[in-house]
Symmetry: C2
Subunit: 677 residues, 2 copies
């Protein structure tokens, strides 16, 4: 699944303005609010926000604050949030995945990026102004102009990252407006029917998908803590996948993400797990060894007790708490920092340890991709037949692939909302179809499908772009160059510890040669039944260096506004590569196993080495998918797979020989001659 730069923010994408269904412009105008009319025009999709605004302002008055900031995230800095954390949506009506709302006694404003401007105009009433520059300095500027001199700006420190707090503080510096950290969220006090915590019990992963028990992981982490020269005495786990990973447990609190609300404080001789204890079954208590207080006993504490417990811990003499600054909220950071007992790194020790998969995790994550490829092949095969009938659409294709995945062993639903995009809709890198935008699939347009599954053994994420009719020369060229980018990264050999950011241009280079490019990142980590974007692995500048056993997506693309979109995304694992002279060299092994659209590949653009890579990949698909399709009795799918993985042959000419050397030209002609015979 493609993603935007640093946690969904990349300026280049600001240029991609939501243009919507080209057949529905007239309709669009009527679906958006018009606050300049009197009375304002409000479509039926808007939410009346007057009541919640009035009540929030009452609370603000009591708290003596002149503004209140409502971020779109949760206390764990999660990329996806649970319904009970959708405070911004509750206040504004706007349900997009990124944004910040601010309320003052007289005004209310929402900041969101270009992907969501139309949606915001459809969902918000005229109590809210829409602001388009999402930088914190721009929000601060707005605050300075609306908050009186000396006024206080309230925020919930559980919903601010360290960086967010720092950015606001810096932008407000010397403005004589101060930030007020206010634990106890004001929106929650207004939100009467706020969704409760899911009553579902948490689960432990079955032994067959586990190599390291939680006790082994705890020991591994403690050993690494001991090795740290700064001698931390405790590790605070804040990101939801950190606790889930450590205890081999999962939950269902966040859509598409098998996480549960939790924190962990791990010391050398104690383990405190903060969660909703009523969801822990007796069996789980036994599993966690929860009735004792020794070094391998998990002491269960209420989720809400984390702040007080942490305060108590840092009061102890000689302690030092290690946090990862990217996922720790400001409320917890404040407690440790004020006692000067902090050790920080960008990512916690658990996140960097989790990034390297053990043998079992590698094996089962590969397995999950084999089953996942069955579902994607079923979709592509079905589309080949169904699209020409003219009855299928982005939504029906999306439903079909979800259905195919659900039939696979250990399926746990999609890993994100399927991006099923035809023609111009695919030029919007983050498009997912809605009833309004839904486009019929036809043989005249390109189609992009970016989808993934959750399985008990792994998370998948794959994008294929296809054309069922006659692609234009430009579409073929762009597709082939995107594919070349994918291949160039996949086949590259590099020393262990090389950063993805230093190789990322290989994914763009073939596009750059003809003046094409794309405005999103080139890959992100994936994990075993976790979030589909598993940082800190990937190709961004803030990602950690590649080591053997890491999994990452590789996903270059190209988007032509109002016309079409191309993305080719595979997941690959970092594996050792034996070189003649050196040690510790690595390369990628692609674990996604679905062939590319042959119709869109201009073989003459590929170098011999690229073609060789491609044919070897197709051999791998045949070797791994053939038996699986047989096992599932999917004969038609197998024929489809064999047809689509036939070796590609550069025929007619060695067109990659662009040499001006007369001898080479002679040779190329000689080859032509031979082929013609």
């Amino acid at each position: 699944m493609c993603f935007r730069g640093k946690m969904l923010s990349m300026l280049a994408l600001l240029l991609m303005v939501l243009t919507g269904n080209v057949n529905g412009v007239a309709l669009f105008e009527a679906t958006e609010r018009n606050c300049t009319l009197s009375p304002p025009y409000l479509p039926s999709t808007t939410v009346n926000s007057s009541l919640q605004l009035r009540e929030l302002r009452e609370h603000m008055l009591v708290s003596n604050i002149s503004a209140y900031i409502i971020p779109g995230t949760d206390a764990h800095m999660s990329e996806y949030i649970g319904p009970r954390d959708a405070r911004m949506a509750f206040m504004t009506g706007f349900t997009g995945s990124a944004g910040t709302a601010v309320v003052t006694p007289g005004k209310a404003a929402l900041w969101t990026d270009s992907r969501y401007w139309v949606q915001a105009e459809r969902q918000m009433d005229c109590n809210w102004e829409l602001q388009k520059d999402v930088s914190i300095s721009s929000i601060a500027e707005w605050l300075i102009s609306d908050v009186p001199n000396g006024g206080q700006i309230g925020f919930d420190p559980f919903l601010f990252s360290l960086k967010t707090q720092e950015d606001y503080a810096m932008s407000l510096e010397s403005s004589n407006r101060s930030l007020k950290s206010m634990p106890g969220n004001l929106v929650d006090q207004v939100w009467k029917d706020r969704p409760p915590i899911s009553p579902d019990s948490l689960i432990r992963l079955p032994d067959r998908v586990i190599q390291r028990s939680w006790q082994m992981k705890v020991e591994q982490i403690r050993n690494q803590m001991k090795e740290n020269p700064y001698q931390p005495t405790a590790l605070l786990l804040s990101a939801l996948d950190e606790t889930a990973w450590l205890f081999n447990m999962r939950g269902n609190d966040i859509p598409y993400n098998p996480f549960f609300y939790s924190y962990t404080l791990l010391t050398m001789d104690e383990i405190w797990l903060f969660l909703h204890t009523e969801r822990v079954t007796e069996e789980l208590r036994v599993y966690l060894n929860a009735s004792c207080s020794g070094p391998l006993c998990v002491q269960l504490k209420s989720y809400d007790a984390i702040l007080d417990h942490l305060k108590e811990y840092v009061r102890r003499p000689g302690v030092k708490v290690w946090i990862g600054t990217e996922y720790t909220n400001y409320a917890l950071y404040e407690v440790i920092k004020s006692q000067d007992k902090l050790l920080s790194s960008s990512y916690s020790l658990v996140l960097t340890t989790k990034a390297v998969k053990d043998d079992t995790e590698q094996r089962i994550l590969r397995d999950a991709h084999v089953r996942d490829a069955v579902a994607v092949m079923q979709l592509l095969m079905w589309l080949e037949k169904a699209v020409p009938t003219g009855k299928e659409s982005e939504l029906s294709a999306s439903a079909y692939v979800n259905h195919c995945r659900s039939k696979q062993k250990d399926s746990r639903g999609p890993s994100f909302e399927t991006i099923s995009a035809s023609g111009p809709n695919a030029a919007l890198a983050h498009y997912s179809p809605t009833v309004e935008s839904n486009r019929k699939l036809t043989v005249d347009e390109m189609y992009l499908v970016d989808s993934g599954g959750q399985y008990l053994d792994g998370t998948t994420d794959i994008t294929r772009t296809v054309h069922w009719g006659s692609p234009t020369a430009m579409q073929k060229e762009a597709y082939t160059r995107v594919l070349m980018g994918n291949i160039e990264i996949s086949r590259t050999i590099f020393p262990s510890g090389t950063r993805g950011a230093n190789m990322e241009m290989l994914g763009r280079r073939a596009l750059w040669e003809v003046g094409l490019n794309y405005g999103h990142g080139t890959g992100h980590g994936v994990g075993n039944y976790f979030g589909v974007h598993e940082w800190p692995v990937g190709f961004q500048s803030y990602n950690i260096p590649f080591r053997e056993g890491m999994f990452t997506s590789i996903e270059p693309g190209y988007y032509k506004d109002n016309d079409f979109g191309i993305r080719i995304e595979d997941v690959a694992v970092v594996v050792p590569y034996h070189t003649n002279y050196g040690h510790n060299y690595l390369t990628f092994d692609t674990v996604s196993l679905v062939p590319y659209d042959r119709k869109l590949i201009d073989i003459t653009l590929l170098s011999p080495v690229q073609l060789q890579w491609l044919n070897k990949y197709y051999e791998t698909i045949r070797r791994l998918m053939g038996p699986e399709l047989d096992r599932q009795g999917l004969h038609e799918e197998k024929s489809w797979m064999l047809r689509h993985t036939k070796p590609l042959v550069q025929s007619g000419s060695f067109s990659y020989v662009h040499s001006s050397s007369p001898t080479l030209v002679t040779l190329a002609v000689a080859v032509l001659y031979n082929v013609a015979l």
Copy 2:
């Protein structure tokens, strides 16, 4: 010229231990001090440091400090320093280009990196301990153990960068040892025969090498200051090439660098130039319009007046001084910061403006490379004939190329000490021959020569590696892969604004494929009669993005310890590239014009595109160097050049076709067949 990561520091190179002349091990032992003997053994190369140490300690006592730090740099954070700034060398005897000395009442220690350990053992007496971990945290650790609790550590703030001060402050935090900023260098008070300022007059560049007069540059910079949203009122220029560039002036205060000691404070309506005013001739005063005080009058001030003048300026209400933090010393920073009137960026506006050459600068810098190539070709041609006679050495080759350059028009001497290295000496990336290490040149060893010239119109820097006998297969493979790296960077097409760090791996990729690598950076900016390392252009992570008109070296390498070293370095200019679909794409155009050693190129490793690039480059050499060699009447050199730039042809087989596809193999066989006919 190759360089170490961030201003001569790259950990990888710590591994490159100076191993010296393999024939001279026994000799080496006797040339180093032995402080464990009683009395200590001191070779004749050591300097007796007792007197200066005693006197410095007396001054320290008076100043009430428990330690004094003596950095190896000057007040402008220069890479090369003038003799009067060689305070570390005066105190220790050690003359290496990188290091830090620290003196306490009872101890004295020098920190330098692995390149210089042997040299330090030869030059220092036993008053000094040699410390090998050059990190500031390691120096601080040593200070904490030797300085009593509550003690003060003195330093000259003119010799500390902001970063150095910050690093010491952080490392000493909560140690109860404090830093004491002490303007008025203590070493200078001890150094009786400190070299004076050169009495030579400064020069202005002739009009023929200038497109923009200093008045135009001042206007250009002021316009950019106006555009800055933070509204700076003044720009402080600290790096020596900043002032030299702004006024189109040069001096001779630093070996190999045509700089003069200076600062500039530029405001919207005044220009203050701080320098040794006695060196400014009447003609220069007229040129600088130095007798008035308007916006385009240069008010000359004494070099030493900068601190007081800056203090006075920042006392004015409403001013804001823009500095580049990389080259501003802590003494000046302190003054501005304490008044809260600072605007900072890593590099000053002048450095980033200077990085993009204007049309004239581009043209004359290309011209300088044409003349420079004549000298390098003369060297290579001469070596081909002279080496087999067995009479030539690293030193004689170095002298020869310097001599050849000196005969070229507008020559102003070498741009750095020539690296002339044979066999194992070349495995030391920063080796320059000395009388002790000097190695005879033979047809049995590889030879690396990295040299450059200063010309009135440009600075050059080029490395060629050759073999006059029969290179081994491994030497050929390594050389060819280094060349492939050079070509891959040179031919790459990229959007304007791409960072060098994001393309740098192209220089390593062919090496990585077989497990080879190198431990230095891949390129640095060069300028018009300036320092040979002209930051901030280059391929390091801290370099600025590439734009049209920038010049950079491209210099991958490979070093086999105790055996040989390879580096291929060219200078290239960033030029526009017309693409089919996009705008603002760039590529490199190589301006160094000396052919590579054909004997070392394994053509079968090159891709057709690489071979095409190489032959096109050779055509360019013929086109540009032929007329120049004719003009200089160098007929033998012209034949040599034509012989060495014959088109390279891939014969015998398409060995780059590694495909396992049966059809491709068939085609390759077919080609072979045709060739055999």
